[in-house]
């Protein structure tokens, strides 16, 4: 039913656990539906000054597909620029874990959704903070 890759990620999940002071958090799913994912990211910059996912962690309540795809999405996203990471599709995740049973495809959708929400959360927070920073600069100049 599950591929070797998925089962390996289920048994040895990468980047698992809660993150202290994350830059962005994405919480998706619902315990009633059986899958809940929390994705935590820390954002840094690469040599060309682009924002990248420097560190990423997840916590998941759910089946082996949910846990395995969570683990995989963190692997795929780590080190990527925010733009690239936000473009990771459910097909990318499903392919990376060696395929998923059709009924479990929604699990890979949830994983990418969680990642995108974490990136949005970071941008929103930064947007607020950024706006505040500019204001203070103006005040200094004024």
């Amino acid at each position: 039913m599950y591929s070797e890759i998925l089962l390996e990620h289920f048994r040895n999940p990468r980047n698992m656990g809660r993150m202290e002071n994350p830059d962005g958090v994405g919480k998706v799913g619902n315990p009633a539906c059986g899958d809940v994912m929390h994705i935590y990211i820390k954002v840094g910059k690469n040599s060309s000054g682009e924002e990248i996912i420097e560190d990423i962690k997840f916590e998941t309540f759910g089946c082996a597909a949910a846990i395995g795809t969570s683990s995989m999405v963190t692997e795929l996203a780590k080190g990527k620029t925010l733009e690239e990471a936000a473009k990771i599709s459910k097909e990318d995740v499903a392919e990376a874990v060696g395929g998923l049973p059709p009924i479990k495809m929604h699990c890979s959708l949830l994983a990418t959704k969680g990642l995108r929400k974490a990136i949005e959360d970071y941008r929103r927070k930064k947007g607020d903070a950024g706006a505040g920073g500019e204001d203070s600069q103006h005040t200094q100049e004024g």
Binding site: G34, V36, T60, F61, C63, I67
Partner: protein
Amino acid sequence: MRAYLDYASTTPLDERVLEAMLPWLREEFANPTGIYSLCQSAKRAVEEARESVAKLIGASSSEIVFTSSGTEACNLAVKGYALANRRRGRHIVVSAVEHMAVLEACRAMESQGFSVSVVGVDEHGCVTPEALEQAMSKDTLLVAVQLANNEIGTVQEVAKLAELAHEHGAAFFCDACIANGSIPIDVEELDVELLAMSAHKMYGPKGAGALYLAEGTRIEPLLHGGGQERGYRSGTENVPAIVGFGRACEIAGEVMQEEAERLRRLRDEMVRRVMSEIEDVRLNGHPERRLPGNANFAFAYIEGESLVLELDFAGVSVSTGSACTSPTLEPSHVLTAIGLSKAQAHGSLRVTLGRFTRKEEVEHFLSVLPGVVERLRKISPFKRGGEGYV
């Protein structure tokens, strides 16, 4: 080490059953319908099996109809009775914790002009006489309540419920597929018109079931053809499976009492240790009135499919009522009927012991379970005293 603890799903074939079946898969292959001696020998074997099946439940052999499975027996009971007796009423009452074979057979009758009422259960999974009374109407022709539940093991007070149904002029169908062979059944005492049985839940082969049809009870056949099984179930008899079913019933009659006591002790000790060694776990089902080999737990904060797979890696075969293992992605209707939230139902684990379960298997399960639960709880965003888990 391998521990098979999923006897409610299916049981291994008893070696003695296999022995009894083998000749009917080899040289004794003839069709029981024929008149020459090979056929007559097959016919006798089927009739002997019929007697064994009847004897285990206190019926006479003329009241047993062989089917291909428990599911077929349930369908034949519900649909066959409703269609043959539609002039007596168009209302069917069924419990919320029935096996899908019964629930879906009832629902299928809705398109035939019948209405169906589903009776809820209490927190232990019991259908109370009060709840049944409320569901009854003047138009009720059939009440369907199982003898025991295949998920949580709760044993219903069928005799009491059947009496109530009869007071309202309705017949009673009891699905005993999971109970037969585990606890004693006497159809006279239960006083039911119809009772379904299955061979592979009691160390017999897959592919054989039976319906007890009390003398004088009329049903319509579902399968039409050559008129086998007195016209109630056409199709050439599955002789090897039927012979195996008969042998399985004989053995059950001999060992049931002793086995039930052994399993109850083994199960009670297992439950006690799971509940004391792991935090935030509940036992689903009735505390006492349950099948001897059944335990059903709900582990908070984690999901059952993960639990089953992890345990499988550790050599333990068990099952769950989580939505993640069901084709509909809905959690077990039995667990939600007893009041579990969907999240709790997702964390359920059914552990069922049987005839060949050794103490070492249970010990092995108990030795790996705490670590598996702990690991999954570490991965889960839900924690003890935390938020979000309902």
